[in-house]
Symmetry: C2
Subunit: 296 residues, 2 copies
Amino acid sequence: MVKKTMVDALLKNTAAAVEEKFCEVLPETNEGYSSVVEAMRYSFLGGGKRIRPALLLEFCKLFGGSEEEALPFAVALEMIHTYSLIHDDLPCMDNDDMRRGRPSCHKQFSEDIALLAGDALLTHAFTVSASSIADNDRKIKAIGVLSRNAGYSGMIGGQVIDLAIENTPCETETVREMYLLKTGELLSAACEIGAIIGGADDEKIKMARQYAFKVGLAFQIIDDILDNIGDEKLLGKPIGSDAKNNKTTFVSKYGIEECRSIAAKLSAEAKEILVELSGDNASLIAITDYLLNRKY
Amino acid sequence: MVKKTMVDALLKNTAAAVEEKFCEVLPETNEGYSSVVEAMRYSFLGGGKRIRPALLLEFCKLFGGSEEEALPFAVALEMIHTYSLIHDDLPCMDNDDMRRGRPSCHKQFSEDIALLAGDALLTHAFTVSASSIADNDRKIKAIGVLSRNAGYSGMIGGQVIDLAIENTPCETETVREMYLLKTGELLSAACEIGAIIGGADDEKIKMARQYAFKVGLAFQIIDDILDNIGDEKLLGKPIGSDAKNNKTTFVSKYGIEECRSIAAKLSAEAKEILVELSGDNASLIAITDYLLNRKY
């Protein structure tokens, strides 16, 4: 319980820092393009647990980097996460009218503005990354990771597989690959970039990536479980959507209990990597537990 | 005539180099996400004059940089141009079924894949930029320009204004701002990035930007003229779309003859900047003339 409170406080502080920085790099405007800026701000500032920024900042600290150097990347990564949600909600994708208890971006504004707001968040992420005061060699390496993990062979690749397997039964291995790409790659961007900006060597960066994939897979499996037996009020959305859409998931393959056990094993392995990395890893261990035990 | 042949040859060589590099950085694949890669390749390799890459490479050469350093940025910039066309063609934007005489991306594939192919081209542009062998300080500066000029206060800002003024009469100043953002900013990215990678100082980079804005404005005015009196066969699309959509353009404000004179003046001013920059500017002067006199 103490640990949970610690993570709650950490996420709250992270959210405050990330949102303050975001408002600094994307202030309100009355230029001719103000509508797209308003839509970008609406979606970015509409909540979210800020897990990715928290992981990025904690991995940076673990290797001795400063929050000032890492914060622009934390904001950039969350902007990319936000753009992916805006585009995912569009009618030609998941066609979701609601997001985090509010109208989704295209419902609040319009489809064209939502499309452009997503494009603009993705684009601005790189302006913000390039503006960090961190060393340029590290920044180039981090920008490479950010774009690669978010790109066609990363997060977007996962979305493509997700679209392809909807309403089509598939192998567990395909679901696993989709989870690792769709969720794992962006979580890995958080951990890798944090490590890079903090000054970790390639071996340590690789371990940060291994940690992220274990946490990412567990994260998706917990999502599957919550979509079956979660609390709709806590989740802020109706449960049962996977079954309704005939989606093959880990739960449809293994059942709830086996899934709990797989997620717990992955989480334990992830924590072993943190122990191996040593240093001040208490916050990261607490976040790992928090993600396993989350109810929403 | 000699000059036109020279520019034709230069653009042909640029296209070959850019397309070869693109195929190197985005080879065909049979991974689960192959459909999005196919869509990215379909749109990128579907023609285009490759004006932006040519300007980027020539500006780089003007300041003594190598093609090897600049080529990844030339490809990245063209990927961003391509993504903007894919998203512009989507039903929620211009809803265009054809592009360069072929089905547009969402017609050839599907809306969801076209959306993701655009996202993936934009994202991959930064992976490719970060992979250049150029100096990291210059690369960070160039990535900042690329994302800023393509972003909400650049190209995307122009698209937002374009959407806002459709079917709504507006001031010439608004049309001018829209042209400068929608077309000028990406042409300016070409010239500025070429200058940066070539090693130009800030004063020269600023002049490259001034050149680009003059050429960009002239480029859009020529587009307006061609939409009124162009050859549909050469253009590969029907003329008269601006009038049909009740768009305020430079032609609707000033008429054809006055527009020709404005574009010629801008082009002459652009060439004066090239003369002031000195160096081996013959190709750039020839490109500037070519853009003024183009028929498609």
